[in-house]
Amino acid sequence: MSAAHHDDGSKTTLGFWIYLMSDCLIFASLFATFAVLAGNVVGGPEGRELFDLSYVGWETLLLLVSSATFGFAMLAMEREDRRALRQWLVLTWLLGAGFIAMEVHEFAALIAEGAGPQRSAFLSAYFTLVGTHGLHVTAGLLWLAVMIHQLSVFGIDAMVRRRLACLSLFWHFLDLVWICVFTFVYLRGAV
């Protein structure tokens, strides 16, 4: 462990963690808004008529598996196994892209049946909260694609290590937010 005491980018990851906690507060205010407005459907459709829980279950599984594959990517990085690291990152990207594809399809279906964000305060809050999470995952996919490219150009150097450590925190953090989304938006809405 003595090697870990020179500059290992720990200040960068601490700073990134503080950013994530401030992002947490954005999500907290969006969750509070959703909880306050969830009952305001103005005669429009309610959550239990709109949400398909088994569909949400598959979305959840994609994100959960992608968290585990990112964990294995970080282990491959520590072993300096560039090939395995690349494979785990590509797999993580595909799982994340599958999640976003499912979410875009879900949003399009809701809007097509007249349950778009303009329909009621409940749906405005729903699209804002779930859409903000989706935008974060999309940003994570972009970042992941950039890192896969940087890995092939620079190999596993100090910069790539530091950036992947931050991206790993970001990715796991989005999985945490999703736990709250499926519990308090989808499951709660279906009770």
């Binding site: 870990a4 720990s10 601490l14 963690w17 503080i18 906690m21 947490c24 507060l25 907290a28 205010s29 969750f31 509070a32 808004t33 909880a35 306050v36 829980l53 088994s54 279950g57 959840t60 599984l61 959960l64 598996v65 968290s67 585990a68 964990g71 294995f72 970080m74 282990l75 990085m77 520590e78 450590a165 790993s168 925190l169 796991h172 953090f173 999985d175 945490l176 736990i179 709250c180 499926f182 519990t183 308090f184 499951l187 709660r188 279906a190 009770v191």
Partner: protein, 115 residues
């Protein structure tokens, strides 16, 4: 355990994944299968969500009390306190506002005449 580092070990990732999978399945099962009495569903899924958040914070985000982890954990706990104040405060204030300011039992004219 020969290999434990800042990014955990394969065993800790698999444990975190399996525990998350079980907790997710229990939460969906409680709602979809109707295995839990209606009144107990919300407390049950809230408890399962909190358990899964703790599992992922420990196994994936490596929060804990060990050397070099305390800083992140302290920052997280402060954030969790702020989240608690924002969310419970909003719900409390808006519940009272709805309760006191939206008469549903009388017409607007009747409400005006009471003063």
């Amino acid at each position: 355990m020969a290999h434990t580092s800042s990014h955990g070990s394969a065993a800790s990732i698999l444990w975190g994944f399996l525990l998350s999978l079980v907790l997710t399945a229990l939460a969906f099962g409680a709602v979809m299968a109707g295995a839990v009495p209606r009144g107990a569903v919300l407390p049950a899924i809230t408890l399962l969500a909190v358990a899964q958040l703790i599992v992922q914070l420990v196994f994936f985000l490596h929060l804990g009390l060990g050397q070099g982890r305390r800083g992140n954990t302290a920052i997280f706990l402060l954030t969790a306190m702020l989240i608690g104040i924002v969310v419970s405060g909003s719900l409390w204030v808006m519940h009272n506002a709805n309760h006191n300011m939206s008469p549903t039992q009388m017409t607007i004219a009747a409400a005006r005449n009471r003063d």
